[in-house]
C-alpha cells in the first residue's frame, strides 16, 4: 500500500505557483514517456451568454483557433499537426477549458499556440461563417440523437428557470444570430489571466514548465475582465414532471430519471458518490444494471451518475431501451430509487464500493491526462494538494447512515424529473 500511496500525486511532487497576473500553474513531472499534457480552464463559460445568443461562449472557444495576429487557421494547425500535437478548447457553463499534448520537445510550441489563441485571436469573417455552418450541422445532428435530446429535456425540467437548463451549444435560432462583433466583444470582456489555471504533466521539470508558461502568458494583462453573473437560486420540483420528446424513426429511446445532487464542495458529495456507485455503477452498473439489464434484459446500458460541480448538481439514471419497454424500465428504476431511500445500502455493498474507490485510484491516475485532470480538480474545488493522498481516509469515513441520509436529502420519488427521447 505504501508503494501505491507514493505513486499518488501530493504536495511532495505537485508544484503550484500563482503568477503576478493571476494565472495559476500546477505541474507534476513524469519522465516515463517522452510526452507532455497541458490542460486548463478559464472563466468564460456559457453563463455569460444572453438567451437570444445562447451558444456565444461556445462559438468563441471554437473560433479562437481560426486565426490569430501571428498565424492563419491553416498555419496554426500546420504547426500543431506537423509534430503530432493536439490542442482543443471546450465550453462549460462556468468555465471554458482546453486540453493539449505533444512530445516534450514541442512544449514551447504548444504554449505559444495556446497563448496566441487565448490572447490575440482575430476572428476572420470567412472562417467564422465556415464554423457557423459546422456548428449548425452539429445542432441538426443533436436534434436526431436520442441521448443528447433526452439530456436536454431532462435539464430543462430539473433546472427550469435556471441557467443550467440551457445547452452550452445553443439552438439553431440563437447561433444564427451571433455576429462577429459579438465574438470580438465576448473575447475582449471575458477572456483574461484572472481565473486561468494551467496544469502541465509529463516529461518536463516543474521549474522549466513554469518558466515556459511565464514566457508565453506571464505578460498577459486585461483591464476590466468581467466577472461571471451570480447563479440564481434553483427552484426545486414540487412534483414529478415528465416529458416525451418525439424523434421519428428511432429504434431505441433514451430515458433519464433523476433529481438534483450535491455541489462538489458539499460534505454530502462523498456519501452521494459512494451511494451512487452502489445504485448504478459498481460491477455491471450496480443495482440499476442488475434490475434493468441483468434480470430483465431490457437494456444494453442502464446506470446512474452524479454530476457535481460549482453549483447544484444532478443525480440521474440513464437507460437506452426499446420504445415499447420505456414504461417498464421507468417503473423498475423508480422502484429501485424507492428501495434505495427506504433501505439504504448494506454493509457488504458499502465495503465493496470503498474498496473499489480506493483500489481504482492509481489506475485513473495512470496517464498524464488523468493526472492533469486530477490537478485541475484539486484547484477548481479547493481540495488541497494532499487530496489524493487523503482520499482513502475520506472514503473510509463514509457510513451507511451517511449514505442513507444523503440519499433521502436528494432523492424524492414523488419529485423526479423524467425525460424520454425517441419514437
Amino acid at each position: 500500500m505504501d508503494q501505491v500511496k507514493s505513486s499518488l500525486p501530493g504536495p511532495n511532487d505537485i508544484y503550484r505557483e500563482v503568477l503576478t497576473n493571476g494565472i495559476t500553474v500546477l505541474t507534476r513531472s513524469n519522465f516515463n514517456s517522452p510526452s507532455v499534457v497541458v490542460s486548463g480552464y478559464f472563466n468564460a463559460g456559457s453563463l455569460f451568454d444572453p438567451d437570444e445568443k445562447l451558444g456565444l461562449a461556445d462559438f468563441v472557444t471554437a473560433a479562437i483557433m481560426r486565426g490569430t495576429k501571428e498565424r492563419t487557421f491553416d498555419q496554426i494547425y500546420h504547426e500543431l499537426e506537423s509534430v503530432g500535437a493536439s490542442l482543443g478548447f471546450n465550453t462549460g457553463v462556468h468555465k471554458s477549458g482546453f486540453s493539449s499534448r505533444s512530445l516534450a520537445e514541442d512544449l514551447p510550441l504548444l504554449l505559444s499556440l495556446l497563448s496566441e489563441a487565448l490572447t490575440v485571436p482575430t476572428f476572420p469573417k470567412t472562417e467564422m461563417e465556415k464554423l457557423r455552418a459546422q456548428l449548425l450541422t452539429g445542432l441538426a445532428i443533436r436534434a436526431e440523437d436520442t441521448s443528447d435530446m433526452a439530456s436536454m429535456v431532462f435539464d430543462g425540467i430539473l433546472f427550469k428557470g435556471h441557467p443550467y437548463s440551457r445547452p452550452e451549444d445553443g439552438h439553431p435560432e440563437t447561433v444564427t444570430k451571433i455576429t462577429r462583433a459579438d465574438l470580438v466583444e465576448f473575447h475582449r470582456e471575458k477572456y483574461g489571466p484572472r481565473g486561468l489555471v494551467i496544469a502541465i504533466v509529463g516529461s518536463v521539470k516543474s521549474e522549466e514548465a513554469v518558466r515556459q508558461v511565464k514566457r508565453a502568458l506571464g505578460g498577459w494583462q486585461v483591464k476590466g475582465q468581467k466577472e461571471a453573473p451570480e447563479l440564481p437560486p434553483l427552484k426545486l420540483l414540487k412534483k414529478t414532471v415528465s416529458k416525451h420528446h418525439r424523434i421519428a424513426g428511432k429504434s431505441q429511446s433514451d430515458l433519464i430519471i433523476g433529481t438534483t445532487g450535491p455541489m462538489r464542495r458539499d460534505p454530502e458529495f462523498m456519501p452521494a458518490s459512494v451511494g451512487n456507485n452502489i445504485l448504478g455503477q459498481f460491477g455491471m452498473m450496480g443495482r440499476i444494471g442488475d434490475v434493468v439489464r441483468e434480470k430483465s434484459g431490457l437494456a444494453y446500458y442502464a446506470y446512474s451518475s452524479l454530476s457535481a460541480g460549482l453549483g447544484p448538481g444532478s443525480w440521474e439514471v440513464n437507460a437506452g431501451v426499446n420504445p415499447q419497454n420505456v414504461k417498464k424500465a421507468w417503473g423498475l428504476i423508480v422502484d429501485e430509487l424507492k428501495r434505495f431511500i427506504q433501505e439504504g445500502v448494506t454493509t457488504d455493498e458499502l465495503a465493496d464500493t470503498k474498496a473499489n474507490f480506493i483500489g481504482r485510484l492509481p489506475i485513473s491516475l495512470e496517464s498524464n491526462g488523468g493526472v492533469a485532470n486530477a490537478l485541475l480538480n484539486i484547484e477548481r474545488h479547493d481540495l488541497g494538494l494532499d487530496y489524493y493522498q487523503r482520499y482513502e481516509g475520506l472514503v473510509n469515513e463514509v457510513s451507511r447512515e451517511d449514505v442513507l441520509t444523503t440519499a433521502r436529502k436528494f432523492i424524492d420519488p414523488d419529485r423526479l424529473a423524467i425525460a424520454v427521447a425517441g419514437s
Binding site: 506537423s82 474507490f357 489506475i363
Partner: protein, 428 residues
C-alpha cells in the same frame, strides 16, 4: 528476455507475452482469442460477440453476480471486445490483486456455464445494443457499405450480427462456438506492468497449463473475388444531414504496402490512431480537410483503415455540408485523389507523417493498459515485432512508394460509395 519482454509458448499451445514495466503499481492482463465475426456463417451472425457477453455470466467457481463484483471490489477495471478477427478480454488491476484476474481468465477459458435463463435475458440485451446502433445514421450506412463490399468473405456482416440471427440462435449454438474456439492453443495471453517475470510466468503456468489443448479451429477462408466496377448504394433514414462513405480495398496488416498506405492515410486524412486507450490528433491540415472542409463541400472528413488478417477496407466518411449535394462531394474527393496520383508527394509530407506516428506512439506508451493491449493485438494479425518495428518501416517509405500504392489501391473500379439520404430536406 529482451527489452523486459518475455515470449513463451506453454505445453498446451497458449502463447504468453510478458513485459515488466515498473512505473506504477499496476498490472494489465489481456487474453486474446482467434475468433471474431469472420468466423460466423449465415444464421449465426453475431455469435462471437454474444459468446463474449456470456463470458460475464459465470462459471461454477465464479457465478455471474460474484464475478463482476469481485474485480470491481479490488479496484480493477475490465472489459472485453469482439472484432471481425478476434475477441479480447482485459483486466487492469492494482499490482497486488492481479491473481484474481488470472484465476478468472483461466477458469472461464473452459468452464463458463451458458445457463439457459442467462442466454434468454442476454438475447434481449444484445438486441437492445443493436437497436442503439440502429439509431445512428452512420451505423446504417456503414453496415450497408460493408455488406456490399464483401459478398463472399465473412467480413460481410457487422460484429453485432443480424437481428434475424439474434432472435433465433440457441444456447447450444453459443456453447458449441465457445467450446470450438476458446482453447489455449487458439489464444494469446499478454501481461504488462509491475511484476517479476519469473514469478508471473510460474503462476500463469500453474493456472493455464492444466487446460488441455483442443483441435485447432479452422477459420472460414472464403476470399472475396476482385471487384470489377464501382458500386454505389444509398440508405434512407431520419434526420436532416447527408453522409457519404467511400471504401477502397486495403491490404492485410502484414503486407509491405500497409506502411506506404499508412503514410498516404496520414497525408490524406490525418494519421489514424491505432491505440485503443489514447486519443488521436486533429486532421485540419490534411489534404482532404483542405480540399473538402475548407472549401465547404463537407463539414467533417475522416479516413482510416484497420489492421486485419484478410484484406479489408480503407474508409473515408464525410458529413455533407448543408449547401452541398453528395455528388459534388464525390467529384471534389476524386479531384484530390487524382492529385496524389499525378503529383509527387513531397519529402516533408512523409517526414511529417513519421513524426505524427512517433507522437501517437509516445502517447500510447503513457498507459500500461495500452501497452498490454498492443502486445496481444499485434499477435492477432502479425506478431509483436510488427509493433516494435512499425516506426522503422514507416521511416523507410519513399514518395515513389506512396504514389505506387495510391494507383494500386485507390482505384474507382474497386470501391464502394454509400450515401445516407435524410428524410428531412432530401436534396436532389
Amino acid at each position: 528476455m529482451k527489452n523486459n519482454l518475455t515470449e513463451i509458448i506453454l505445453s498446451n499451445g497458449l502463447k504468453v507475452l510478458l513485459k515488466e514495466i515498473h512505473t506504477a503499481p499496476i498490472i494489465s492482463s489481456w487474453l486474446w482469442y482467434r475468433v471474431g465475426s469472420r468466423d460466423e456463417v449465415q444464421g449465426r451472425t453475431g455469435i462471437s460477440h454474444w459468446v463474449e457477453h456470456m463470458q460475464f455470466k459465470g462459471t461454477p467457481q465464479f457465478p455471474a453476480n460474484i464475478l463482476d463484483k469481485a474485480i470491481s471490489r479490488e479496484g480493477g477495471s475490465w472489459n472485453a471486445f469482439t472484432y471481425i478477427d478476434w475477441t479480447a478480454y482485459f483486466e487492469t488491476m492494482p499490482a497486488d490483486k492481479v491473481d484474481l484476474a488470472l484465476r478468472l481468465e483461466s477458469d472461464r477459458m473452459s468452464n463458463s456455464r451458458f445457463d439457459s435463463d442467462e442466454v434468454a435475458s442476454e438475447r434481449t440485451v444484445i438486441m437492445s445494443e443493436r437497436e442503439g446502433h440502429e439509431n445512428e445514421p452512420l451505423f446504417q450506412l456503414g453496415e450497408a457499405v460493408q455488406q456490399t463490399a464483401f459478398r463472399v468473405h465473412p467480413y460481410h456482416h457487422e460484429v453485432i450480427g443480424d437481428m434475424a440471427d439474434l432472435r433465433t440462435m440457441t444456447r447450444d449454438d453459443l456453447y458449441s462456438h465457445y467450446r470450438a474456439f476458446y482453447l489455449p492453443n487458439n489464444a494469446v495471453m499478454a501481461v504488462a506492468g509491475d511484476f517479476d517475470t519469473q514469478f508471473m510466468l510460474a503462476r500463469i503456468k500453474e493456472l493455464f497449463e492444466p487446460i488441455p489443448a483442443g483441435k485447432e479451429p479452422a477459420r472460414l477462408a472464403r476470399s472475396e473475388p476482385s471487384q470489377n466496377g464501382e458500386v454505389r448504394l444509398s440508405v434512407e433514414g431520419p434526420g436532416a444531414t447527408s453522409y457519404v462513405q467511400v471504401c477502397y480495398r486495403f491490404p492485410i496488416a502484414s503486407h509491405p504496402d500497409f506502411f506506404p498506405l499508412s503514410v498516404l492515410d496520414s497525408l490524406l486524412a490525418g494519421p489514424s490512431n491505432l491505440n485503443m486507450f489514447s486519443g488521436g490528433i486533429s486532421n485540419k491540415t490534411s489534404r482532404l480537410y483542405r480540399a473538402l472542409v475548407d472549401k465547404e463541400y463537407v463539414v467533417s472528413v475522416h479516413g482510416g483503415a484497420q489492421a486485419t488478417i484478410d484484406p479489408f477496407l480503407y474508409t473515408i466518411t464525410m458529413t455533407v455540408h448543408p449547401k452541398r449535394k453528395p455528388e459534388e462531394v464525390l467529384t471534389a474527393l476524386d479531384r484530390e485523389i487524382q492529385r496524389v496520383r499525378e503529383e509527387k508527394v513531397s519529402k516533408e509530407e512523409i517526414t511529417r507523417a513519421i513524426k505524427q506516428a512517433r507522437a501517437l506512439f509516445a502517447y500510447g506508451s503513457e498507459n500500461i493498459t495500452n501497452q498490454g493491449f498492443w502486445m496481444g493485438y499485434a499477435e492477432m494479425f502479425a506478431d509483436y515485432n510488427w509493433f516494435q518495428t512499425y516506426l522503422d518501416k514507416l521511416s523507410a517509405v519513399t514518395a515513389k512508394d506512396v504514389q505506387r500504392v495510391v494507383n494500386e489501391y485507390f482505384k474507382p473500379q474497386s470501391r464502394v460509395v454509400g450515401t445516407y439520404i435524410p428524410a428531412e430536406g432530401r436534396r436532389t
